[in-house]
Each structure stands twice: as structure tokens, then as C-alpha cells.
Symmetry: C4
Subunit: 277 residues, 4 copies
Amino acid sequence: MALTGRRKLLNEVIFGTDTPAGRNFDVFLIWAIVISVGLVLLASISAVAERYGPLLIALEWVFTGLFTVEYIARIYCSVNRRRYIVSFYGVIDLLAILPSYLALLYTGATYLLVIRLLRVLRIFRILKLVRYLRDANILLRALGLARRKIFVFYSSVLVMCVIFGALMFVVEGPEHGFTSIPTSIYWAIVTITTVGYGDISPQTPLGQSIAAMTMLIGYSIIAVPTGILTAELAGEMHRERIQLACHNCSRSAHDPDAEYCKFCGHRLEDAEEVSEV
Amino acid sequence: MALTGRRKLLNEVIFGTDTPAGRNFDVFLIWAIVISVGLVLLASISAVAERYGPLLIALEWVFTGLFTVEYIARIYCSVNRRRYIVSFYGVIDLLAILPSYLALLYTGATYLLVIRLLRVLRIFRILKLVRYLRDANILLRALGLARRKIFVFYSSVLVMCVIFGALMFVVEGPEHGFTSIPTSIYWAIVTITTVGYGDISPQTPLGQSIAAMTMLIGYSIIAVPTGILTAELAGEMHRERIQLACHNCSRSAHDPDAEYCKFCGHRLEDAEEVSEV
Amino acid sequence: MALTGRRKLLNEVIFGTDTPAGRNFDVFLIWAIVISVGLVLLASISAVAERYGPLLIALEWVFTGLFTVEYIARIYCSVNRRRYIVSFYGVIDLLAILPSYLALLYTGATYLLVIRLLRVLRIFRILKLVRYLRDANILLRALGLARRKIFVFYSSVLVMCVIFGALMFVVEGPEHGFTSIPTSIYWAIVTITTVGYGDISPQTPLGQSIAAMTMLIGYSIIAVPTGILTAELAGEMHRERIQLACHNCSRSAHDPDAEYCKFCGHRLEDAEEVSEV
Amino acid sequence: MALTGRRKLLNEVIFGTDTPAGRNFDVFLIWAIVISVGLVLLASISAVAERYGPLLIALEWVFTGLFTVEYIARIYCSVNRRRYIVSFYGVIDLLAILPSYLALLYTGATYLLVIRLLRVLRIFRILKLVRYLRDANILLRALGLARRKIFVFYSSVLVMCVIFGALMFVVEGPEHGFTSIPTSIYWAIVTITTVGYGDISPQTPLGQSIAAMTMLIGYSIIAVPTGILTAELAGEMHRERIQLACHNCSRSAHDPDAEYCKFCGHRLEDAEEVSEV
């Protein structure tokens, strides 16, 4: 079903990026999102909250109102309303305004904790920004191709963390901070990812030996996802270039370093600018 | 020797994955393993163990019984029983049930410590999961090809850790936590793998300079295993694609980005689906 | 406009690297920069500052005088003076001498703090060193080609840090060190980059679970920039070699491992020495 | 000059690896080195040193004697004695025995400290092990090709560490552990390499912001050495395979995945076994 009249116009402004109005709307929205997220961050600093509390609450309601109007307008001018509402961005758009309204209802004994949780959920507004990022396609396609190998890799890492965690629980025990197997698994993840907080660390020689092994394994298997992704990404980028067609004669399969079409001699650079960089 | 009658049927269910019964058995087994490992984890949390102790012990015996029956059935229906028992999974299957029974025998002064160790060995049940993961082949083959280069790399890393550990023991000494050369080697491994707990850290300017060198070396040699594996993996994935044969004309050596057989025009995608992704 | 007489001579010495005098001037300048930066480092150690304070101040003025003369000489002998002054190195050259003079003016209550800041800015002298590093071209070109993919990557990492930071602020709260969302974002960056100071670390089981997820994500997305850069760098290095022309017959497109020109048999090594290594 | 008689025989045993005697000598030497290094490690643990002190000293002299005899024999049977003595392994061989003898001379007030330093220098014996590792050639050649790019990379990292260190010294100051610019540079290296001990960590919001930037830069430039090395290593491994010549017809330039010579059909695998794996 094609849209007509006002809905069509609104659709072009809100969802489209082809008209100047559509582009301006997107830029305005990005700034509104960034500023409103910045306000949530500021409001979480107790010194700031004490001093500018009322102002921050007022500004929060301004942005909540703005995003509510935007959400209703998006529903109004969608070609397929149901599909928009249940889409990824439809849900994010709702989650970005819901907490402010819910915070009105829950005002009682657990006020402070709940409102904090609800307010913070508004941070999901930032996810809206993702919509404006293109060029993430190559990365996503490479990740898509690598997904099964990466799943195998993660399974192995988790199995290793469970086994090393259990070993350390037995070897070091609760008296050195390894209070339970889940806690020890947390330690194993901290160690194998080379984060190494040091809040829990082995004290006994045997524990330190096992920890050293865990580190060396973590240090080397970090190579595995890099290897997988690099291989996929190189293939994906190669394909991207090969698919590049000459603007003049429409033939493709040019060499990666070709600057002129090998069939008609037309310069390829602008084409490449468009499709790849 | 071919199996007949009941043994053949049981073999198809337990070892096979071709029949619906075989697949259901495998899925059931995975769930049983995951739940039983989860119970071990829960039992290690002292608050949970105090409250649900008897229930957890009862459930442990249920799973021990289940895995015992499974182990006996596997031996019963194996084509070559001896080979199953001494195989990797045969040993893991035995280790997954043995600790519960051994805990019955050893009841003395050191009871608590021993039973804890034995219980935790049951975590090896989780290794059974690996059996169900395919697609790990490319990774394993690439690791196999890279094994000698990775061995050279690890030897160099360990030699460096010993030398830096010894240097730091002399420079910092026991008064700054470097109590012995093995402890200093542990520190060197923590540093070179960029884990950095901070439980032992250099205090003197000279010690900090040597530590900075250790870090910079560790930071750059992390590139070596990644480089080795990426190179092998790229080759392995390339070969995988090249070996891919067209379903129609059986000819292979297609380009990596080919979607149709270049000899007969038949679509290649489903073939690729089977052999590579 | 071509330079003549003394200005031309001075220009060749100061900006040029073709004459022996020009090369000697550059080497002398590098040493002066390194030594003057070393003096700033030494002066920041309180024990050294107390003992050799007057000497360090005197030496600082010697170098400030030297660099001032050099700056004036550079302006004097530039072909286009305005362009030099507003160029990257023109600004760095000015910033490298300005703090010493500014320290003379601001002598009041906040003297100590300000002069420290100004002194330290002189460290930017070290950036002058970059001028002497060639061969950074391939790296820079590869980074240039990868810049948009890397921007997408960084945006995703920052969005993730904001969301995980906000989550941890709610889950752990100020009582476990997560005093505000910005502080929690700092924690998220410390964790996702696998630095892991341990100054802030999660205490609750839920917080530790979220932290473990953050680590595993950080551990795997470290693969993304590596993959991007490796793919670009490999392409760039390949192109570099292919562009290499034979000195004898001027034809290029030689194989990466070619040691002799495949058209005329002339040795390629010296050519490669010049353009690539 | 060719060796004759006893010297030739000894040379074959000590330096050669072609005869059974030469191989046995090498294996014996590796074990002697590993055990003697193990003794140094054990002697550094105070509990062990107190109990087995005399035994460890005796064993140390046994190994010192053994390595002294070996060193003299190596000099005796070298084709070119001077070249052996000043070679890398000649110096290492001397350093591995010298500390034990020097420890006899320095017995006075500083006895304990000096002897510890001297003893520990004997750890350099372990470097002898490097001689026995082959297959490190591809790695070393790739590192050799990448050396200038890696030097540029390290210079940039060090310049960044100096600048970030100086900035943090001004921002955080001695009261938060950043006692001097060199100490702050140490902190910057700890942070940029993602080690993150946490012995020094920023406390102020501005300091934490700069630290976050340092981490993100460190996190992404880790990709650079990996990218350089992977690209060089892939080229080196490719060349290795291409250089592989068929045993039957001596022609090379076979495809990376070729199992049979494409010119004469002879199996290539054994050849590959020899030259590459």
C-alpha cells in the first residue's frame, strides 16, 4: 500500500534520507539523542544531581515528550505499522520513552532503587544511533560468515573456564577468595581474557602454576577469533572490490589495484569511492 | 564384526546420529550433562549447600546412576569394546561417574578435602559436550599445521619469562613480593600475557623499567601466534572452498566467490552450505 | 618564488636533507630534542629537582634559547612563511618554546600548578621526532583506508561501554565503587580493553556475570580492528611490491618473490631496497 | 683449514648433529641445562635453600664443572677458535659458567647480594636451548622483513607513552601516585599494553578520561604489529611453499595445495615434510 498526502510527506522526513528535510531531521534527532543520554549520565553524578536536580528532571521531560511525539509520528506514517512496532528499532524507540512514564507509577518504599533502574534504561536511546551508521555492512557480513567458527571457539573457552574454575576452587579454596565454583569461573574468565583485576588471585604455588597455564592458554587462543575474522574479512573486502563495476562499460572483476577499467580505460576511482570506502 | 539384533539397535541410538532416536538420545544426554554440571556448581556455593544439601546429594546420585547405566550400555553395544574403553571419550565417561563412587570409600580424617577434589573431577562430564560440536575441524586442522611454529613461539616465551623472572628477583627481591625465582616467573607470565593482576608489582625504578620492557615485548609478541594462525587458517579456508565440488558436474577448483559452477552453470550455494559453513 | 643568497643556503641546511650540512643539522636537532625532553623528565623527579634545581633551570633556558633561534631561522628562510607558521610542525615548534616564556609572566598564587602544566607542554618537542621517521607511509596509508571501518568499530565499542556502564551502575551501585554512570563507563572501558586495573571491580554475583560478559565481548571484538588493519595492510604491501619497477627496463608488476626482472633479467633487489624496505 | 684426528671426531660429536653420537650429546646437554636451571630456581626458594643448601651448592659445582669442560672442549675442537669465542653462543657458554667462579672472589660485606646476582646470571644457560630449536627460521625471517615497520610502530608507542605520562603527571600529580614523569610513563606503558596492574590508577574524572583514551588507543594499535607480522608471515609461508621443488623433476612453483607435481605427477608430500613442516 502506497502512502498519500500528509502521511507520505511525514514518512519521507522521518524515515527517508533522500530529501534535505529528511537529512536535517536525522541530524537533529542524533543531537537530541546524544544530549539526552548526556543528561542521564550527568544526573547519575550525586554532586550534579543535588545542585541541578529540578533542571535535569525538567529537561528529561522535554526530551521524553519530544521522543514520545516522534514515536507516535513514526507509527502514524509507517507503511506497515505493525511491522514497525515489532521491529528492532520500534522496540528500542518504545524502550527509550517507557522508563520515564513508568517512574511516575512506582513511587513508594523502593522509589530510589526502582527509579534509578528505570531512568537508566533510557540509555537504550543511544542504540538509536546505530541506525545512522552505514558501512558496518562488510563487518557484519564477515561476522556472519564467521559465526559458527566463533560459536565453536566460545564454547571451548567457556568449557575451559568451567574446568579451570573448578580446579582452582579445589586448589585454592574459599580462604583465598575462591568462595565457590561460579566465583572461580568468574576468576577464570577474568584471567583467560587477560583482564586481570586482581580482586581474586592465587596464593599457593600450585594455584599460581594453574593460573600461569590459564593465562598462557588465554594469551594464545586470543589468536583464534582474530584469525577467523581476518580471513573472512580479507575475503569479504576482496569480493567487495571485485564486484565493483566500471561506470562507463559496467564490466567488473577488476584487479584490486586497478585504477582504470581494463576493458574501456575509464577511471574507476569514483566508483570505488561510492561502493567501498 | 557387524552387530546384530538388540546390540545393533542400541548402538544406533547411543552412538549414531542418523536416526531420530539417536538424535533425541544425544539431545537428552546434553541436557543431563549441563544440568548435572550446574548442580555441582550450585553445591559449591556454601549458602546453597547448607539449605539444599540433601536434595543436591540425591540429585547427584540420580545423575550418577543415569550416567552409569549409559556407560555400561555404551560398553555393551560397542563394536570393539576394548577400543571404546581406552578411547578419549571412554575415559572421560568413566571419570564422569567414578568420583561419586570413590567418595563412598574414603571416609576418614581427610574426608572433606578428598571428596571435594573428587566431586569436582565430575566437571569433566562437560567435555562430553565437545563430541557434539562439528565444524571445529577447520580450526583443528589449522592449529595442527601451525603446531610446530606455535611450539617454537611458546618455548621462546617461556625462556623469556624465566630470564625476566630471574632478573626481577635480583632487582626487586623478596621485600617487594618477588619471594623466589618461581614466584618471579609467575609474575613474568602474568605480565607478558598482559593479565596484570597487580598482586606482585615492581616498586623500584630499575624494576619498573624492566617490567616496562617485559610488557612491550609481551604486547608485540602477542602478534606472533595471531600471525601464524591467521596465515594457516586463511590457507585452510581457501583450500576448503577450492575442494568444493559442483553437485552437477563434480568439477571443483571454483573461485572463492563463485556462486555458480563455472563449467556447467549449476548453483553452488547448497554444496557450500554442506561442506563449509 | 625562489630563494637566493643567504636565505637559500639556510633553507638548504634547515629544511633540506640532501646536503651533508642539512643532515648534520637534523641529527644535531634530534639529539637536542631528546636531551631537552630528558631534562624535563628528570626535573619532575622531586629528589633530582631539589638537588640539581638551578642547573636544570639553566639548561632548560639554554635549550629554550636554542629552539627559539631555530624557530626564528625557520621563519626567516621559509619559501612561504605564513604556510610554515600555520603548518603542523610550525605550531609544534612554537609550542615547544612558548611554555618557558609564559612561565615568566604567570607568577602568583597558582604559580606552581600552572608552571608545571606549561613546562610539561614542552614535551611536545618530542613530536618533532616524527619528522625524521619515514617508512611510516605504508602504515599510514593502510590506516587511512581502514579509517571508516575503524570509526564504525569505535562507535560500537563506545555505545557498548555506555550501556554496560549504566547497567553496572544500577546493579552494583555507589556502595561498590560504581559512584556514577561516567565512573561506570570508565570501568567498562577498563574492562572491555582488557586493561583491568582492579580499582573498581564488581562484588555481587549479578555484577560479576555482567562483567564476565563485558570481558568476553571485549576479548573477541579485539579481533575486529586487527582483522581490518591486517586485510588493508596486506593489500597495501602487495601493491607496494607490484608497483616496483625494474631499474633497467622500467617494467613493473613483478611477482612478490621475484629477485630478477622477468622481462630483462636485471637484479631487482636494490630497487626494492629503495622503495619498500 | 680442515680438522683431523681427535679434534675432527670431537667436533662431529659436539657441534654436529648428523652422527648418533652428536645427537646423543645434544640431548644429554639439553637435559643438563634444564636440570641446572631448575636447581637455580629451587635454590631461590628460601625454604628449600635452608633445608637442602649444601646439596644444591654441590650439585651447582657439578654442573659448573661439566659446562666448563664442555666450554674448553668446544674451544679445542672449533675450526676457527676466535670466531667461536666471540660468537653469540660462545659468549652465552662463557656467561653460563662465569658467575659460579666470580662468586668465589666476592665474599665480603656485600656477599649475599652479589652472589645472588651472580648465581642468577647462570640462568643464561637456558639460552643455550635456543640452539636446539629449528623451524624458527620462517618466524625470524618474517620478523626481519617487518623490522623497520615494527621500529616505526614502537617509536610511535613510546612517544605516545611519554606524552600521556606527562599529561597524567600534571592532571593527577604526586598525591595520586603519579610521583614523577618517569613513573607516569611507566603507568602509561602499563596501560597502553593493557597489562593494568592497578598499583597506580587515576582518581580524578579528568585523569580517568585521559586514561580511557590511552586504553582505547592501546587497544586499537595492538592491531598494528599483528597486521604487519601476519602480512609478512603469510608472504613468507607462501614463498616457502612455492620454492618447494619436486624430488623427481626438480621443478618448483607448485600451487599451495598441490599434492602431486604438476609437471611429472610425482608425489610432493615428503618433500614438503622436509622443507616446511
